[in-house]
């Protein structure tokens, strides 16, 4: 050895720290906006859980049991999410990250490399859980009147609770890479997550949680919570952490030190096991991960086939559609998002079938009007959510390959239109299907449905235009991960702006639509009056949508001109 001191864990993770500091130096606008949004979320989350816990206190003997089981339910959910997210993050940080080559070439012991990457995996996977969890734990502490020992105990118990899935994730990732190529393992896991999450959404919805609002449904929810998981297994970290926190709250008998001891010793043992495994197999696993980067030429003519299928389109949109769709279909991480959208649509339509509108009571009629009125906004909300995930990132996804399009003899305006049609086509179909199908389920008059369907055209066009405009204004050319792009600052600003437009359109249409619905229930009106109100509703929506469309397009093209320069 040269006699130089070996790099420490802190030195290896310093690029992340320095990058964060440099980002802060660029300006406080984004961090402050994000902090504000986080604060709003925390307050909302705290309020919701505090109310639920207070309500548990009002229902007698069941209360403490529900308090206990809700905490178990939360930790089981957290633990499942942490296991999956740590495994995927470990695959990336240990075996797919660009800087691993640099670290492997440096005089760094595998043990130190493990510790540094483990820390990155732990932080990257756990911050979201902390974000969700802290207001909940605070609600428990305040409502259950936990003393300082509860807060200190929670912090001391949370650390090993987070380390355990990180260690398991690292071990699983390493074993997977030793057997399968890293990219395939990650894609498979992402698809599995998508399917699980989609199934969970649908199952939760089909369980009809709205019955909770109905006092007669309360017993069902209570019995669900009481029966949740039966007697918790003594082998699970979720049992140990609740076994630490509940006695500190005085909600259950027991000595928290035993559970805490189990958490810490298990975390330490798994951490050491993870370090030993990585230390012994890292180079072999890394090499295997690199070899796994090769993929066969299956689907070689996919681009051609898509292009042929889209032969009715003009040249540039057809080419871009073929390219974007080929890339999309070959990226397994995208499929999980499609599964989630499918689940979202199923739930959306199911919601309308579950409404008690069949009853011809005054309540049923009011509920139907409200549901009809909200339908446009809700469908547009679904379209916006999908647009954030699929339209907003399209500019960023061109990434460092942007030069190919930029140096081709294609005007930026035509590129923009091509991207627009690629986004608008599927989204308008989605929006129209949602509105027409659910209006049919609600028994809305054809004229009102036609107004909604017509309104969606400029509204979805504006949403797509805004997605491209914001996507070009806040480009992320450094990543090919669409999910990461869709959760950035620009995506949040886009989501808020698009939802603002949706709210404005719904507001502007409120009066004419309410009149149309009134006619539908038999209020006297001539055909010309009906047509007049329908036109008025459409015109009211058209103006802000046209403005949003044009200004976003202008801004988007200006941003495209600057992109990558």
């Amino acid at each position: 050895m040269s006699g130089l001191p070996e790099p420490s864990v802190a030195q290896i993770v310093s690029p992340r720290r320095l990058a964060a500091r440099n980002a802060l130096r660029r300006g406080w606008g984004r961090p402050l906006a994000l902090a504000f949004l986080t604060a709003v979320f925390w307050v909302g989350c705290f309020g919701l859980f505090a109310r639920a816990l207070e309500w548990f206190h009002t229902i007698g003997d069941f209360g403490p049991l529900l308090t206990h089981r809700l905490l178990v339910l939360l930790f089981v959910t957290f633990f499942a999410v942490l296991l999956l997210s740590n495994t995927i993050t470990a695959l990336t940080t240990f075996y797919l990250a660009d800087d691993v080559n640099l670290l492997l070439a440096a005089p760094i012991e595998p043990r130190v490399l493990h510790h540094a990457r483990f820390l990155e995996t732990l932080v990257s996977s756990s911050w979201m859980i902390l974000l969700f969890g802290l207001p909940i734990f605070l609600a428990y502490g305040i409502v259950e009147r936990g003393g300082p020992a509860f807060y200190a105990g929670t912090i001391v118990a949370l650390l090993p609770f987070l380390v355990i899935p990180a260690a398991i994730g690292t071990i699983v990732a390493t074993l997977l890479v030793l057997v399968f190529p890293a990219q395939r393992a990650r894609d498979g896991l992402l698809l599995l997550i998508g399917l699980s999450a989609g199934a969970a959404f649908v199952l939760v919805r089909l369980a009809r949680p709205e019955r909770l609002a109905d006092p007669s449904g309360l017993a069902g929810f209570a019995s669900f919570l009481v029966g949740f998981g039966g007697e918790p297994s003594p082998w699970l970290p979720t049992t140990w952490i609740t076994g630490t926190m509940l006695p500190l709250l005085g909600a259950r008998e027991g000595d928290p030190r035993f559970s805490l001891g189990l958490l810490w010793t298990t975390a330490a043992a798994l951490f050491l096991l993870s370090a030993a495994l990585v230390e012994r197999t890292y180079l072999r696993a890394w090499t295997s991960a690199q070899e796994g980067g090769r993929s066969s030429g299956r689907g070689a003519s996919l681009l051609d086939r898509i292009e042929r299928a889209g032969s009715f389109l003009p040249r540039v949109p057809r080419l871009l559609l073929a390219k974007d769709l080929s890339i999309f279909l070959r990226d397994a991480s995208q499929w999980s998002q499609l599964v989630l959208i499918g689940a979202l649509v199923v739930i959306y339509v199911y919601n309308f079938t579950a409404l008690p509108i069949a009853e011809n009571t005054p309540l049923g009629i009011v509920l139907r009007d409200v549901a009809t009125f909200c339908n446009l906004g809700l469908a547009a909300f679904v379209v916006t959510s999908v647009a954030v995930r699929f339209v907003y990132p399209t500019i960023s996804l061109e990434g460092r390959s942007w030069w190919i399009l930029r140096t081709a003899p294609v005007p930026l305006g035509r590129l923009w239109w091509s991207k627009f049609w690629i986004g608008f086509g599927p989204l308008i179909v989605l929006g129209e299907v949602l509105v027409v199908l659910t209006n049919h389920l609600l028994g809305v008059s054809p004229l009102a449905t036609a107004v909604f369907a017509a309104t969606l055209v400029p509204l979805v066009a504006a949403i797509v235009s805004m997605g491209l405009g914001f996507g070009a204004s806040y480009p992320r050319l450094d990543t090919q991960n669409a999910a990461q792009i869709a959760t950035g600052f620009g995506a949040i600003v886009y989501m808020v702006s698009a939802l603002g437009l949706v709210a404005l359109v719904v507001l502007l249409e409120a009066w004419p639509i309410s009149r149309l619905l009134g006619f539908g229930r038999g209020a006297p009106a001539t055909a010309s009056a009906r047509a007049g109100f329908a036109l008025l509703a459409f015109a009211a929506a058209l103006a802000p949508c046209a403005w949003a469309f044009v200004s976003s397009r202008r801004r988007g093209i200006r941003a495209l001109e600057r992109l990558g320069s």
């Binding site: 980067g293 090769r294 681009l303 540039v316 390959s401 930029r406 003899p409 090919q480 001109e561």
Partner: protein, 254 residues
């Protein structure tokens, strides 16, 4: 064929390119030399419409890159210093896509792509995703993409990086053939041997300014004049020595 007039690019207070003017005739291989950070890539990006100039104009084949961008780009092929490709497209698809952007009919594009893939020794891997390609293979594929529309101007930014000796040799032969066919090549390179072998004219950029321009013999005369000695009395023998003398790197500056 290429006309650059008063081209300037400012990044804040720093002028990356400072009043560059050049005229490059048809069929010329123009070697564009300079140290790291001299402004070569910025110049090329402005030529290709990837970066907005602060001032000045670039005409490619008589078309202004800013006002007649499509016409200028239609006759130009470009190879960037880091040719990032679409990872999830195969080599053949990549060429088909780029050919489509230039409006080449499908059947014709397929023929040209097959020929280029053969020429660049990529046929065997043509149906594999480009994410599996080595750096050199990506470089060759990007060059094939730059040639698929048979441009009359070729702008190359550090094209030799990542090529193996055989690839570099083949590339030099290709450039010579293209120049003989009348294609104008704007070649930014650190490889002085390549510039010396292929370039009919050479420009040297330093701190954004063109400090020397001409044939190799003219540059020797310029250097000799600057050093106040007769060109025939033992001036720099190679382009490397000449380059170092011109940019002052002999003093050990990076």
């Amino acid at each position: 064929m290429i006309s650059i007039r008063g081209l300037r690019k400012d990044f804040g207070a720093m002028a990356a390119v400072d009043g560059l003017s050049l005229e490059i005739e048809r069929g010329c291989v123009f070697g564009f030399l300079g140290r790291n950070g001299a402004g070569k890539t910025t110049t090329i990006r402005m030529m290709m419409g990837l970066t907005e100039p602060s001032a000045g104009t670039v005409l490619l084949g008589g078309h202004d890159v800013r006002t007649e961008a499509e016409a200028a780009k239609a006759i130009t092929g470009y190879l960037p210093d880091h040719p990032y490709l679409y990872d999830k497209l195969t080599g053949a698809e990549m060429l088909g896509f780029v050919g489509g952007l230039y409006g080449i009919p499908k059947a014709e594009c397929r023929l040209r792509a097959a020929s280029l893939l053969e020429e660049f020794a990529l046929s065997e891997r043509a149906n594999e995703l480009t994410e599996t390609y080595s750096h050199g293979m990506k470089q060759r594929l990007a060059l094939a993409a730059a040639l698929i529309h048979r441009p009359t101007i070729l702008v190359l930014d550090e094209p030799m990086v990542g090529l193996d000796p055989q690839g570099a040799h083949d590339f030099r032969r290709l450039l010579a053939r293209l120049a003989a066919d009348g294609i104008t090549v704007f070649l930014s390179t650190h490889s002085l041997a390549v510039a010396e072998e292929l370039s009919t004219r050479i420009g040297v950029l330093d701190r954004g300014r063109l400090i020397a321009l001409g044939t190799l013999a003219e540059l020797r005369q310029q250097a000799a004049a600057a050093a106040a000695r007769p060109a025939s009395t033992g001036g720099p023998a190679t382009l490397e020595e000449l380059f170092l003398e011109l940019v002052g790197a002999a003093e050990g500056q990076w």
